[in-house]
Amino acid sequence: MTGTASTPMVDARGVHKYYGSNEVIKGIDLTVRTGEVTCLLGPSGSGKSTFLRCINHLEKINAGSISVDGELVGYRQHNGRLHELRDAEIADRRSQIGMVFQQFNLFPHMTVLENLVEAPVQVRREKAKDAAERGRDLLARVGLAEKADAYPRSLSGGQQQRVAIARALNMRPKLMLFDEPTSALDPELVGEVLDVMRGLADDGMTMIVVTHEIGFAREVADTVTFMDGGVVVESGPPEQVLDDPQRQRTRSFLAKVL
C-alpha cells in the first residue's frame, strides 16, 4: 500500500469537522501528489489549522475520508468495514507525518539534541546513538550544529523553529505539515526558516504549508489553495491563484496581505 507515483500522498475527500455544533470544515477535497508542495492560504478562523490537524488525526473528522500514502488515517478497511485503529496504531501512522507548529512547541526540559532524539528512540525504538548521529546531521543542515546542547528557551524564535523542523525530520516522515511556521517570528528571523523549508522542497519532500508569506508561496508552491469559512474557495498553481484570482474573496484577502 506504499506510495507509488500514481497514489497521491494526501487524498482528502468531503472532509467535515464539527466542534460541538459548530461546523468548522465544511467539505474539503484536496489532493497532494508525492513530492509536491501545497500552500494553504486563508483568513484567521477559516479552518486551516484544523484541517492540518485532521490530516495527522490530532482531530477526528466527522465525515469524509483522509488517506495518507494510500492508507486511511485512523481507520483500517477490512471486510467492507472501517475498523477504528487503537491508539498505538494511530501513533504509528502519525509518526510518518511530520508536523511543525506556529508556536514551535519544543520540549523545554530537554536540550536541542534530546528533542531530536526523543521520538525516534521512544517511538521507533532506535538506538539513541543512531538517532543522535542523524540528529546532529540535521542540525548542521538547518545551521544549528553548535546549538545541540542548548536548551530551547535560550534560542531565538527562528532557531527554535528550525529545531522544530529538524525534530520532525528526524522521524524520517513521508509528509511534512507546517502550520504558520513563521508567523510567531520577528521579520528578520523569518528568512532563516523559509530558507530551510525551501531546501526541503528542493529535496523533494511532500509538504503542506499554511502560511501568510505570499512571496514564499509564489516561489516554492506547486499548488496554492485559498480557504475561507471552512471551504476551499480557490485552488491552482501560484501564478493563477496569487496573480489572477477568480474570486472576489481571494482578491480582497490578497489585497490586505500583500
Binding site: G64, S65, G80, L82, R249, S252
Partner: protein
C-alpha cells in the same frame, strides 16, 4: 470523543458518493476490564458496608442530630471560618512581605513562614494557651519605658482566643506559600500595564494582581480549608470541644466507637461536599473573562458521573472576518 457517532467515511480510492462504510469502534479491552473491576469493587463495598451489622447504622443515625455533636460541629465550623480568614489575610501580607525590597521585611516574613510551618500545630496551641507560664503578664508600651498597659496573660488569652491565634497563625504560614505561587502566576505584563497607567503598588496588588491570582490560589485554598476542618480537632487539647472531640467524649463513655466515628465522618463529608460546591462557584466567579473554563474538582466530579455529550463550544478568540459584499476593490 469515543462516542459511536455514525461517521460517513469512504475508503481511499472509492468515490465519495458510494454508500458510507460501517465504522467499527476499536475494542478497548483494558477499559472494559477497568470498568467491570471498579463496578464490582463498588458493589462489594456498598454491600459490605450496608449489610455489615458491625457498622450499627441505627447507632450512627441515632447520634446524627445529638445536641453535643451539633454543638461540636458548630465549633468546628466557627474555628474553620475564623482561622481561614485570619490565615488568608496573613498569607497575603506575608506573601507580599516576602517580595518586599526591604531586606528586613522580607527576612521577617520568611522567618515567620519558616517558623510556623516548621513546628507542630499542637505545640503552638499549647504555647499560646499557656503563654502565662512563660510570660505571666503582657506589657504593652515602648521598650525601655514604663508600659502603658499591663494585662494578665491568662485573662487576655482565653482558650478560644488561643485556639484562633494558634490555628490562624499556623495557617497563615501555609497560605503564604499558596498566595506567593498565585502572585507569581500573574503575567508581569499586567503590572507593567497598570504601572504605565499610573496606578500605585497597593492599588495594583488589590485591583489587578490579586483578582487574577485567585485562579491559582483557590484550588489549593480549597484543599487547605478542607484540611482545616479536620485540623481544628487539635484544639481539644486546650479545652475546646469540636465535632470530633464531641464524639470522642461520647464513645469514651459508652465505647460505641465505630458508629460514632461514622457519624462524625458523615458530617465532615457533608461539609466538605458543600465546601467543594462553594469552591466550584468561587472558581467560576474568578474565571470571568476566561475563554475556556477549566474544570474544578467539583465540576470534574459531576461530569465524571454524568454521560458526556458534545456541547456547543465557546466563541473563538479570533473573530472570523465577515465576508465582504461582492464588489471589486482592486
Amino acid at each position: 470523543m469515543t462516542g459511536v457517532t455514525r461517521v460517513e467515511l469512504s475508503p481511499a480510492g472509492a468515490s465519495a458518493e458510494e454508500a458510507p462504510l460501517r465504522v467499527v469502534p476499536v475494542r478497548r479491552w483494558g477499559q472494559w476490564v477497568a470498568t467491570v473491576v471498579i463496578l464490582a469493587i463498588a458493589a462489594l463495598l456498598v454491600h459490605s458496608v450496608v449489610a455489615n451489622p458491625n457498622f450499627q447504622w441505627d447507632e450512627v443515625f441515632g447520634y446524627f442530630f445529638d445536641g453535643r455533636i451539633l454543638r461540636g460541629l458548630g465549633t468546628t465550623l466557627y474555628l474553620t471560618v475564623v482561622a481561614m480568614v485570619i490565615g488568608i489575610v496573613i498569607g497575603v501580607v506575608m506573601a507580599v512581605g516576602r517580595q518586599s525590597r526591604n531586606v528586613v521585611v522580607s527576612g521577617a516574613a520568611s522567618a515567620y513562614v519558616g517558623f510556623f510551618r516548621g513546628t507542630p500545630l499542637l505545640v503552638q496551641l499549647i504555647f499560646w494557651f499557656n503563654l502565662a507560664a512563660l510570660y505571666p503578664t503582657l506589657e504593652f508600651g515602648i521598650p525601655f519605658l514604663e508600659p502603658f498597659y499591663v494585662a494578665d496573660t491568662n485573662q487576655l488569652i482565653t482558650p478560644m482566643f488561643a485556639a484562633i491565634l494558634g490555628l490562624g497563625l499556623n495557617e497563615g504560614a501555609y497560605m503564604s506559600e499558596i498566595v506567593r505561587a498565585g502572585l507569581l502566576s500573574v503575567d508581569p505584563g499586567q503590572t507593567d500595564a497598570a504601572e504605565a497607567l499610573g496606578m500605585r503598588r497597593s492599588k495594583i496588588l488589590r485591583r489587578i494582581v490579586l483578582p487574577q491570582a485567585m485562579r491559582v490560589i483557590i484550588p489549593p485554598t480549597g484543599n487547605a480549608t478542607i484540611a482545616m476542618l479536620k485540623t481544628t480537632s487539635l484544639v481539644s487539647v486546650i479545652a475546646i470541644g469540636d465535632l470530633l472531640f464531641a464524639v470522642q467524649v461520647i464513645y469514651s463513655r459508652n465505647f460505641v466507637v465505630i458508629p460514632l466515628l461514622i457519624t462524625a465522618s458523615l458530617w465532615y463529608l457533608l461539609v466538605t461536599t458543600i465546601l467543594s460546591i462553594g469552591q466550584h462557584f468561587l472558581e467560576k466567579r474568578f474565571k470571568r473573562g476566561e475563554r475556556q473554563a477549566e474544570q474544578s474538582y467539583f465540576a470534574a466530579w459531576l461530569t465524571g458521573l454524568l454521560p458526556r455529550r458534545p456541547k456547543v463550544e465557546p466563541m473563538p478568540v479570533t473573530a472570523a472576518i465577515p465576508i465582504e459584499p461582492e464588489g471589486d476593490r482592486r
